[in-house]
């Protein structure tokens, strides 16, 4: 029998260690390709790689999704096995491994729905952590803006900012204990990286959510202020200013552009 090609060796190797993560699927044709005293010895050697595949990637996911892992407890390993079967890593960097965990959890019927939202929050934190760098606008930048330029003022957000809309109050799950007993409650959040590289997230109310969408899409300040149009005039101005100061202090505004 001719020797198998390099591709065939690697295909058999993969099937034996990764198709069903763990030691459950060692291909007999691969066992015959491995040197050893007997089949037990050969399977033990292959098993080192099978175990390493699962344990290494499980640990990566545990590090990227610490709260999902905590809340799943003993079931985390089983979820990871299913995830690795459905979404094997497609990138040279293992940093992308967890990109679809939220989607995977959303389609499962045997895990609490809130975990999909929590995974989305934890993944957003990863993405924000290594998003592109950008300078942040400061209070001083705003002080120099003439009063008549304010209505047309436009902002751009830092790249390390994401907004999420969840069906559950995932920020409470993120900072809470080990209970999954949480009621559905539509929640908007923003996730951002501060100047010192720390990653934060915070729930935002409907007004901030709408204002943030307008800011990110480049609407002028006057349009952002319309978000508060239902408030008395003085209150609207105060709320708009307070929101802007909060965004500046959090470092999520990259640049301000005055209309020519």
């Amino acid at each position: 029998m001719p020797a198998p090609s390099l591709y065939e060796v690697q295909r058999l190797f993969w099937e034996s260690v990764a198709v069903q993560p763990g030691r459950d699927s060692i291909a007999p044709a691969f066992v015959r390709l491995v040197r050893g005293h007997d089949d037990n010895d050969r399977k033990t050697r292959i098993g080192v790689y099978a175990d390493a595949y699962f344990l290494r990637l499980r640990d990566v996911l545990r590090e990227d999704f610490p709260r999902v892992a905590d809340l799943l407890g003993d079931r985390f390993d089983e979820v990871v096995k299913g995830y690795l079967e459905a979404f094997p890593s497609r990138w040279p960097s293992v940093r992308h491994l967890g990109h679809a965990l939220s989607e995977f959890l959303r389609h499962r019927t045997d895990t609490p729905k809130c975990l999909a939202d929590l995974a989305e929050l934890e993944w957003a934190r990863i993405e924000v952590f290594d998003a592109p760098d950008a300078e942040c606008a400061t209070i001083e930048d705003f002080i120099s803006v003439p009063a008549d330029a304010w209505p047309a003022l436009r902002f751009s957000a830092i790249p390390a900012l994401q907004t999420l809309r969840a069906q559950y109050p995932v920020h409470r799950l993120w900072s809470g204990g080990t209970s999954l007993d949480v009621s559905a409650e539509e929640t908007a959040l923003r996730v951002w990286r501060a100047n010192d590289c720390r990653v934060f997230h915070a729930p935002i109310d409907e007004r901030e959510s709408a204002a943030l969408r307008k800011m990110i899409s480049g609407e002028p300040f006057a349009t952002i202020c319309e978000t508060f149009a239902d408030l008395p005039e003085a209150g609207a101005a105060q709320e708009s200013a307070a929101l802007l100061v909060r965004w500046i202090e959090d470092g999520i505004i990259h640049r301000i552009d005055q209309a020519a």
């Binding site: 040197r35 050697r45 760098d133 950008a134």
Partner: protein, 280 residues
């Protein structure tokens, strides 16, 4: 290797060491970093690497080139590696003589190749392709292994040497990996060392390992053990003064302890080279 500077005795820089980089107490001859950990758009790791470069030379060490794989080399990966090289000007670039992906799926492991003529030709051609793409010679590291193939037609050291000669690349000789594989497969580590061409060795790795049943596992979670230090002495006797690095990836000790391992390597190198010059 004549195309590489001698950097001394360095340490693998890991996240736990970042505070020492920031307060500038990470005093090592040089740092090796995992290339893929810095293939990101921005944020803290890249800022830390900038600061590490101010303290000591940096070398990029990859784990996912998949040089022995049969999928085409990933252009997106090479482009990211090239960006890192331009930004951080590493003293050199290395990866592993193994495979890690098939059918577009990555195992994120250093998987062993069969030692065949087909594999020598295949891997050497791909190393040449990478070197042409990056415009520089790279180093390939021997990996530790827990299995070998019945179709292999040559010992590992012959395979490593043949690939390096045919690709005209350097060798990153991992002494711990030689020891681990020697125990796991029953070959002589000294025979391995004597089969590696002196002029190709540009760097040496040292690390710890652990045992699992009859096998040694390359876990990088212990100090360098005595048999590996002993083999390092033999490596210095054969290859002379070679930039050496201590890796520690799990159960990582305080930076000072890691640095002490690098200093021990320096002492051993000095002892061996002094003894050699006296005996001449």
């Amino acid at each position: 290797m004549s195309f590489l500077p001698h950097l001394g005795h360095g340490v693998g820089l890991r996240t736990i060491h970042y505070p020492h980089v920031l307060d500038r107490t990470a005093r090592a001859d040089w740092f090796e970093v995992i290339s893929e950990n810095f293939m990101i758009a921005g944020g803290r790791p890249l800022q830390i690497l900038e600061k590490a470069r101010e303290l000591a030379p940096v070398v990029l060490h990859g784990v996912s080139l998949n040089i022995g794989g049969t999928d085409p080399l990933r252009e997106d990966y090479l482009a990211e590696l090239e960006l890192l090289i331009r930004r951080f000007a590493p003293a050199w670039v290395s990866d592993h003589l193994c495979w890690g992906a098939v059918g577009g799926r990555f195992a994120h492991d250093l998987l062993p190749l069969p030692y065949t003529e087909e594999a020598v030709r295949h891997v050497a051609a791909r190393i040449r392709q990478v070197q042409d793409r990056l415009g520089r010679r790279i180093l390939m590291e021997n990996v530790s292994s827990y299995l070998t193939y019945s179709i292999s037609s040559m010992p590992e050291w012959v395979f490593v040497s043949a690939v390096a000669e045919e690709a005209d690349c350097g060798i990153l000789l991992d002494v711990n990996n030689i020891y681990v594989s020697a125990i796991n497969h029953g070959f002589s580590p000294l025979e391995y060392l004597s089969g590696i061409p002196r002029e190709r060795v540009g760097q040496i790795h040292l690390a710890g390992h652990s045992s699992s049943g009859d096998l040694l596992i390359d876990t990088h979670d212990h100090p360098v053990p005595t048999p590996v230090w002993r083999l390092y002495r033999e490596a210095v006797r054969r290859f002379g003064r070679v930039s050496t690095l201590v890796e520690w990836d799990d159960q990582i000790p305080p930076f000072e302890e890691l640095l002490a391992e690098a200093n021990r390597a320096r002492e051993i190198e000095g002892e061996v080279l002094n003894a050699s010059s006296i005996s001449l």
